[in-house]
Subunit: 199 residues, 2 copies
């Protein structure tokens, strides 16, 4: 199972590392291209000021999708038109990943209903308030359920991405990427050092 | 000592996370703006396909500078015109950081001569060959000497950036950023899990 193209949903106020951690991991695979997408097809700027051009996508076309978090998720999670667009994109996927508060957007589509998922622990109360039909996990670095991988905050997206690489391409490929990134992988999804932040 | 603006040198073939890890850390400071710069002022694309607009800078204007690594450093380290431009930028700084093979570019300016520095361990032989008047450290997550902070490969740039935040703003500020990033900081510069990669 190869990820030839990974679509990454961008919006103003995305969190830089939510996007760029996974880009670093998947971009190191031999044949994986990363595409940035939005309903508008314009430039989107992260909370830290990084501006990225996006491709305008109406009809879904990406089988692998990643939804980052960030302050920009707050208005979008209650924007019905946006969530309708996102739902169409996610329904089309074979696999869909979220980082941080990206799971709030995914939860708003109702496609996570009755499934287990996680999110940023400092924003956990807000995220879980978006949809209480999700089995929200307060202690998890990432969660896989059905076709969804949802991760905890920001840096957890790197750990989750390495797990996806390991699941799809094998542990050896993940190890090669780890070494070249000089990254210390937390490879245990149940080890969540930030779970204690939950009130 | 506040970093009001951090200039980040971009070139084609920069490594995505070398740049975006530090952007995430410094971008979370209350009053720090990040600017992407180059001698040409055009768009620069990372090895993973991330395209970023840069500001054309001729006369140096940034007191704080970060130089990332990546495949793009290979031709630039022997490009005399580029290294002359870079040397002018670095001479102007109060502090200059490098990530990964960014230290090869810095070493090529001769401004690291007789100082201690480190770099990516998988690329160590090439980096050290650029200038053997540097006290290259084969086992270090990052090194501070004089006004320079040089880090090991890719992810090490995040650890180094957190140290810079701690040095400039205090440990409490670094801790706040760590929690919001859900990042497990390797705060010990001498702990280098990738030193063993050195032949």
């Amino acid at each position: 199972m190869n990820i030839e193209t990974l679509g990454i949903v961008l919006f103003d106020g995305f969190e830089t590392l939510d996007v760029m951690g996974p880009v670093e991991v998947f971009g190191r695979l031999p044949d994986c291209k990363v595409k940035f997408i939005s309903p508008e097809g314009n430039k989107k700027t992260s909370s830290q000021g990084v501006a990225i051009e996006t491709e305008k996508v109406t009809n879904p076309q990406y089988k692998y999708l990643l939804i980052p978090g960030g302050q920009g998720t707050r208005p979008l999670a209650i924007d019905k038109e946006y969530i309708y667009w996102l739902k169409q994109q996610v329904e089309y996927t074979s696999y869909c990943m979220t980082v941080c508060t990206g799971s709030a957007l995914l939860a708003a589509t109702n496609l996570l209903n009755d499934l287990s998922a996680t999110s940023n622990k400092l924003a956990f109360e807000w995220v879980t308030s978006i949809n209480n039909n999700v089995n929200w996990q307060p202690k998890a670095r990432w969660v896989k359920d059905d076709k969804f991988y949802t991760s905890s905050g920001v840096s957890a997206g790197i750990d989750m991405s390495l797990q996806v690489v390991s699941d799809f391409y094998g542990l050896q490929q993940a190890s090669t990427i780890i070494k070249s990134m000089e990254y210390v992988w937390n490879d245990d999804a149940s080890h969540d050092p930030f779970a204690v932040n939950l009130a």
